[in-house]
């Protein structure tokens, strides 16, 4: 996933005017307690090698899942909400405890 780093240099001096960048709130992956893992066995995109379903991409609040074959999750910014795991029609995503307990 491409990181966005703003489009202008310098800063507007007389008003507060922000420029866009990925990770405005920091490395939000650090917020996680659980992280998602997509199973190659369960995910229909992974199994068929064709673009389809993409419920995980659609319901991810952060937009950190790519619409690729197979879908990939950017763990730098994934907050570990678990919505993808809950919504996957094939139950192909598992939420694993950080720190491997």
């Amino acid at each position: 996933m491409k990181e966005y780093k703003g489009s202008t240099s310098g800063c507007d001096h007389i008003t507060a005017s922000s420029t866009p960048a990925t990770g405005e709130g920091g490395r939000t992956g650090d917020w996680r307690v659980l992280y998602p893992v997509i199973s190659g066995e369960g995910c229909v995109v992974a199994k068929t090698g064709k673009p389809m379903c993409y419920m995980c991409w659609m319901f991810c609040p952060e937009g950190v899942i790519s619409k690729t074959v197979p879908p990939e999750i950017n763990l730098e910014y994934c907050k570990g909400c678990g919505i993808c795991a809950e919504e996957c029609p094939s139950k192909a995503i598992t939420m694993i405890q950080e720190g491997g307990e």
């Binding site: 990925t22 990770g23 673009p51 937009g63």
Partner: protein, 302 residues
């Protein structure tokens, strides 16, 4: 025409990851896809609200569309000014969109919104309704449902929720729609419809909120779905005065039974310990609402 699915939905993102929205934020889903439907040629205006936080602190922002932050009660007036300014400068192809919370819409912002709607100001107004002042720590708003616990009604709210979509419909504006991030295809299509129209267009989103409503963040989409299935929230659009339902709400309108409200209520700790009387009151509220839809002829399909 190709059917819109997750596969065919555009994947150019206008909201950047790594922002400060809560884990599992329902607004985030809606905002992500809503911005896609609007595309690049848009100017947002956003009051004090959760979205203010999501959009970032100076000098870094988290979205690829221009935005003017504004005072709490002023969303619609701010949008009216942007529209007037753009029109004066001949930039009529830029869409003006206000995004405000339920507090900023049904409470403090209702005056400016009603005024803008009465003037049929050419802009889109989105109310993202997480049923409380969640940004400031879960205080009650006019949009909080009966029985819900908030920090300013710790024994449960004694009044029912204000029906903002119908209030806006009473202004006879060209477009009113109710939308849910649990139904993102419908959301995207309604946002697209709104974008193509002129005049005041109002979209009301029900936004499940993990910290405010009290549930495990993984259930955000599920909770939103449950709200529609039991009739606590209904998906419809009103185009030039004509109402049509969508999805589960359409099925309910054509006679399929509604889920009882109890499961939806019990799934959220903001309704923790509510008595059966509260559940019955809410059930009755939903029943009456659907009865009034029937009486108004909304449930008739051609």
């Amino acid at each position: 025409m190709k059917k819109l699915t997750a596969v065919t939905m555009p994947d150019k993102e206008y909201m950047l990851p790594g922002n400060r929205s809560c884990v599992g934020c329902g607004l985030s889903i809606a905002y992500r896809h809503g911005l896609k439907a609007f595309g690049e040629s848009v100017i947002l205006t956003v009051p004090a609200s959760c979205l203010t936080v999501l959009q970032g602190m100076y000098p870094v922002s988290s979205m690829l569309v221009p935005c003017l932050n504004t005072a709490f009660e002023t969303t619609a007036a701010s949008a009216a000014g942007i529209r007037a300014g753009l029109d004066a400068l001949g930039k009529r192809d830029v869409t003006v969109v206000g995004w405000a919370g339920d507090g900023g819409t049904s409470d403090i912002g209702i005056q400016a919104l009603s005024g803008a709607a009465e003037r049929n100001t050419d802009f889109i107004y989105i109310c993202y309704d997480n049923e409380g002042y969640m940004n400031t720590g879960t205080q009650r708003s006019g949009s909080t449902p009966y029985g819900a616990v908030t920090s300013t009604c710790p024994s449960g709210k004694l009044e029912h929720k204000k029906d903002m979509p119908m209030i806006m419909a009473a202004h006879n504006i060209p477009y009113v729609a109710t939308v849910s991030p649990s139904y993102p295809i419908d959301l995207y299509e309604k946002f697209t419809t709104a974008k193509q129209m002129k005049g005041t267009r109002y979209l009301h989103l029900l936004i499940p909120c993990p910290p405010g409503w009290g549930y495990d963040p993984r259930y955000t989409v599920k909770i939103g779905r449950m709200a529609v299935l039991c009739g606590m929230f209904d998906l419809y659009e009103i185009i030039n005065g004509r109402l049509s339902f969508y999805g589960p709400s359409l099925r309910i309108a054509t006679g399929e039974p509604r889920e009882p409200v109890e499961a939806y209520i019990r799934a959220q700790t903001r309704f923790r310990d509510v008595s059966m009387e509260v559940i019955e009151e809410l059930q009755e509220w939903v029943d009456k609402k659907w009865e009034s839809y029937r009486k108004m002829g909304y449930c008739e399909t051609d």
